[in-house]
């Protein structure tokens, strides 16, 4: 009941003109960002953060805008998957398998409608999951001391390396790189400059927003320049047809939606596994369970409903650890964490206690946004289809320039722009070499906290390293971390998604 009361307060906050407008804007932009190949939730949100920040939005409205974009992108990705056979973003990859065959069979409208409804179901119940699960997790998190937090951060990196990437060594390398970048600047506890090489600009450290926009957004521009010749703009005619699904189809796909919502949500809550994994596991599970006549992959509506419910549910699930523990489970939630940190808000149990208006306002806005998204994505879907016709040769320059505008808006510093370009090139090289970018970002974001918690533990216990493993909670977290890192080495061949193997977009856009 306490939860319902908080939720009601949240709705009171979300139902202001400004917040509703921002939610609408976020949903609209998010759907476009999701639908356009080359722009996905993580780089879309990354570009918008500096803008929201320099516009001086308050924490709650800023979060409402960006999470609406995040939810919207999960809806939008399916549009180009179904119509063009090109996933609009990585989580929508599985939707191409049955969505495109449906479109070719003249059922594009029905595929869009079923996937839109599946998206709504997944996101709606996942948001309820967030409402119910996050406060419970907060209760556990309140027992955490600095040693447990240190172990939790280690767990986040370990599972991110173990589950979500194909080469553990490269994930560890990426994490060390990010953490190393985070140590640049004046040490917060002793005031000693570290790794600054006497450069005054580096005393404040490297702004994580600069790193994120460079790694995610600018590197995408370089990828497009590289593949320019191969990427022709879609010119074929797209006939949509009716966008109301027959009732029989709804009834047939309902169980698939329900199962996929549960699977997707769990995949989202687990650290290191985001929406891409959610949609992958949902689709594979559904195929194994109900593909009795071999219709999957040939335009079975259940094959459209399952991954869409799965990735939207995972998107909601990934917000649970991000809000309750301050440890993001996926690329886009890592970017959202950057937003919170830029606004001087540390997510975690204290956020729920001290700033309940931010948390519950956000959750209420997710419910509202979800309804808006359903409305936008069913009757108005043809509007977004038209956006798909914008060729990348006009789109990508605009993306690059908006990235520059955002970073310049924060600091007005040429040095930051140069650093961003360096990160853009670094991001391109790392993507070519199949080094995951999310651990880098997570390292840059969490490095400071991780070190602080380690040193606090040592200060409390006077430098006794054994104290890192002093409680059962800490030991449990370490055990999970080790299992999460090692297990995929042994068993990974069997359940690791072949997502990144099957497409050639070079680790683009980690959901």
């Amino acid at each position: 009941m306490e939860i319902l009361q908080s939720l009601a307060d949240g709705f009171a906050i979300a139902f202001t003109f400004e917040n509703l407008l921002l939610a609408f804007l976020g949903c609209f932009l998010g759907t476009i960002i999701g639908a356009l190949p080359g722009l996905g939730p993580s780089n879309g949100v990354a570009i918008l953060i500096p803008l929201a920040f320099s516009l001086g939005l308050q924490p709650t409205p800023a979060l409402i805008l960006l999470t609406s974009v995040y939810y919207g992108a999960m809806y939008g990705g399916r549009i180009s998957s179904i119509l063009l056979n090109i996933p609009g973003d990585e989580p929508a990859l599985m939707t191409t398998l049955d969505g495109y065959p449906m479109a070719r069979a003249g059922k594009a409208g029905e595929a869009l409608a079923i996937s839109g409804i599946a998206s709504f179901v997944g996101a709606f119940f996942a948001t309820w999951g967030l409402v119910l699960l996050a406060p419970q997790l907060v209760k556990v998190a309140l027992l955490f001391g600095p040693a447990e937090y240190f172990a939790l951060f280690a767990l986040a990196f370990a599972t991110l390396g173990g589950v979500a990437s194909r080469n553990q060594a490269k994930a560890a390398m990426a994490a060390a790189l990010g953490l190393g970048i985070a140590t640049i600047g004046v040490d917060g506890q002793t005031g000693v400059p570290r790794f600054t090489f006497g450069e005054v600009h580096l005393y404040d450290g490297i702004d994580f927003l600069v790193a994120i926009v460079g790694l995610f957004a600018l590197s995408e521009v370089f990828i497009f320049l590289e593949h320019r010749a191969s990427g022709s703009s879609p010119t074929q005619k797209m006939k949509i047809g009716r966008i109301t699904p027959p009732l029989s189809m709804l009834r047939k796909t309902a169980p698939a939606m329900a199962r996929s919502t549960v699977i997707g949500f769990i995949a989202g809550v687990l650290p290191g596994a985001g929406a891409s994994l959610g949609s992958f596991v949902s689709y594979s599970f559904e195929k194994r369970l109900s593909d009795k006549k071999g219709t999957f992959g040939k335009g079975d509506p259940r094959g459209v409903a399952a991954p869409e419910a799965g990735n939207n549910a995972a998107a909601g699930g990934a917000l649970v650890p991000m809000l309750a523990l301050g440890v993001p489970g996926s690329g886009t939630t890592a970017v959202l964490l950057a937003m919170l940190l830029a606004l001087n808000i540390t997510p975690g149990p204290l956020l729920f206690q001290q700033k309940p208006d931010v948390v519950w306002g956000l959750i209420a806005a997710l419910f509202i946004g979800n309804v808006m998204l359903l409305a936008m994505n069913l009757p108005l879907v043809s509007l977004f289809v038209r956006v798909l016709l914008v060729p990348t040769r006009y789109l990508m320059p605009a993306v690059a320039m908006i990235s520059f505008v955002g970073i310049y808006g924060i600091s007005g510093s040429t040095f930051d722009l140069m650093v961003m370009i360096v990160f853009g090139v670094l991001g391109w090289v790392l993507r070519k070499l199949d080094v995951p970018l999310v651990p880098v970002i997570l390292g840059v974001l969490l490095g400071d906290q991780m070190e602080k918690n380690l040193r606090r533990t040592m200060t409390i216990h006077d430098g006794d390293w054994a104290m890192l493993f002093d409680s059962w909670l800490a030991i449990g977290l370490w055990a999970f971390a080790i299992v999460g890192f090692i297990l995929p080495l042994i068993a990974g061949r069997y359940f690791r998604p072949k997502i990144a193997d099957s497409d050639k977009i070079e680790g683009a856009d980690p959901d």
């Binding site: 490269k170 060390a176 002793t190 320019r228 040769r393 605009a398 690059a400 505008v405 808006g409 040193r455």
Partner: protein, 143 residues
């Protein structure tokens, strides 16, 4: 081969990082752990990861040919130049050039690229500066 180079680069970076970490001057007011310990751990992880990647490389990635590499290098050069002249030429002028260049290299007809560049620059200026009130670089002409 690429991964072996990556591994060695990571090891070299780790060495540099660890060396710089030893040079951090201890402060008179310090906690038991001090400012060096965490960097030491990170440097060690980076070195071990580098060794692992160098010993067990993945499949060779598809590197672009020299022409494509030059293409990317030129784009980087244009972006650096953009950041360099932004304050001197003002937002609209510099952005028009940079966006037109990128649009041209992404396959637009030169004339279309120039129009696109100007449209992008003016569009961003109107939306972000005039409507949303963001501070953009002001050049000698005030835009």
């Amino acid at each position: 081969m690429s991964d072996r180079i990556l591994g060695f680069a990571a090891m070299a970076l780790a060495t540099l990082y660890l060396w710089r970490a030893t040079l951090i001057e201890p402060s008179f007011m310090s906690d038991p752990l001090g400012p060096k310990a965490f960097p030491f751990i990170i440097g060690a992880v980076l070195a071990v990861a580098g060794i692992a990647v160098a010993l067990r490389p993945d499949e060779e990635p598809v590197w672009p040919n020299a022409a494509k590499l030059l293409e990317i290098a030129m784009a980087v050069a244009v972006m650096v130049a953009y950041a360099w002249v932004l304050r001197d030429l003002g937002f609209v002028m510099s952005t028009s050039f940079a966006a037109a260049y990128l649009s041209w290299r992404l396959g637009s007809h030169p004339i279309a690229a120039v129009i696109a560049g100007i449209a992008i620059a003016v569009g961003i200026f109107v939306i972000f500066k005039l409507i949303l009130g963001l501070s953009l670089a002001t050049g000698p002409w005030g835009f």
